[in-house]
Symmetry: C2
Subunit: 226 residues, 2 copies
Amino acid sequence: MSSTAKPAPTMGETAYGQIAGLLTSGRVAPGERLSLRDLAERLGTSTMPIRAAVGRLAEYGALEVSPNRAVRVPVMSAGRFSELADLRQQMEGLAAERAALAATAEDIDAIEPIATAFAEMVVGPDPDGGRAVALNRDLHFAIYAAARMPLLQSMIERLWLLAGPVLNLDMRADPRRLANTPAPRFHASALAALRRRDGASARAAISGDIADAASFILARGVLKED
Amino acid sequence: MSSTAKPAPTMGETAYGQIAGLLTSGRVAPGERLSLRDLAERLGTSTMPIRAAVGRLAEYGALEVSPNRAVRVPVMSAGRFSELADLRQQMEGLAAERAALAATAEDIDAIEPIATAFAEMVVGPDPDGGRAVALNRDLHFAIYAAARMPLLQSMIERLWLLAGPVLNLDMRADPRRLANTPAPRFHASALAALRRRDGASARAAISGDIADAASFILARGVLKED
DNA sequence: GACTATGAACCGTGATCACAGTCGGCGGCA
DNA sequence: TGCCGCCGACTGTGATCACGGTTCATAGTC
């Protein structure tokens, strides 16, 4: 029924997803060296699908190949993280602005429950860092999808893949910060702006959400200086 | 010398460059199907480096894999092209704005001769479409490099790879349009803004340059309607 | 005891082969 | 004459092997 046929995903694609999961869930540490043969054994295939997956990840910068061709998880310097946060504010702010102009009522109805679920979780008695990250991601991308700009969305996905390891590391390290995060207020502000078709406010809300999280992580000083 | 060692490029990387050249120079037509074995024979290698190169290109969207796993050069619809031009205005405008704030005197001194070379060529007696494209590219990226935002620059490079086939097709189809293009005025305006450290004007100049070229191509109506 | 040389294990890359699926052209049938 | 079905060539994918280069640990030497 879907417009796009699903011709059984290749092993390379599943390997891509699994390795990306390893990265975004923080199960591999920045700086850690990865071996194609080891990954192949872990995923139960030959090195061929792993090669394809790692190559694609490396193209994004989600993995790094040293000049000696060694594959490692990139270490995020403070400067690199700052540029990443800067770009995220610009691009995701743009997506939110356009979403405010293009979103249908159905789009907004689909976004709202995600926002309330996130807001209830962070004030709840048992905040789950991993689940919070997932909900936050779903919320952001639900908004961006409403902008109907597939190219922009794919570029934002790339940025999230780069930021993933650090964000997850942060959430895991200090899940109780969730109770005090201003994120739900930014989310509510964005949602209200979408309803008003107020692009500038939507941009400001998303941009503020990103800037707040980024400054918090930078303030912790765990990122390598330059 | 250079800070990064050069450990002899792999065949996969050279294949990447050669296939990217095929795309940006317009020697392969949109919609055309590519065969890994054929490319391998043309480049004198096995299919392995070709696989790696094509996979990376496909990750960017510079190549397209059909649900039946056939590799083809993507056809650019009018809608897709519009979004691409839109994003280019936003991101390259941003890069120009930041360049205006971060550019050193040496940066600007390096940019200027490229601008004059482009301007002299388009009014010259024998406008060369291919060379004009190359000069235009060099000029734009010299500006963006001055922004010192490597992540942003790599994302812009991706966008150019997507737009490459269409832009080149346009330039080749009608090189005499070069004589009347307003591009040199946009370039001069951007350069002056860089000197004044006027970010807003630099953004406007680059954005205008892109918008003008895009509207010209769209007006020709050669792009497939959605 | 500290340092260097050496060798084995391991790394990514490229080539080659096997296989299932797809597409097109040719032949036969209505 | 027009249409359908089949068969062969060709597609991308995965596995396996070979090869140069790097890394790390151990043994030998000063």
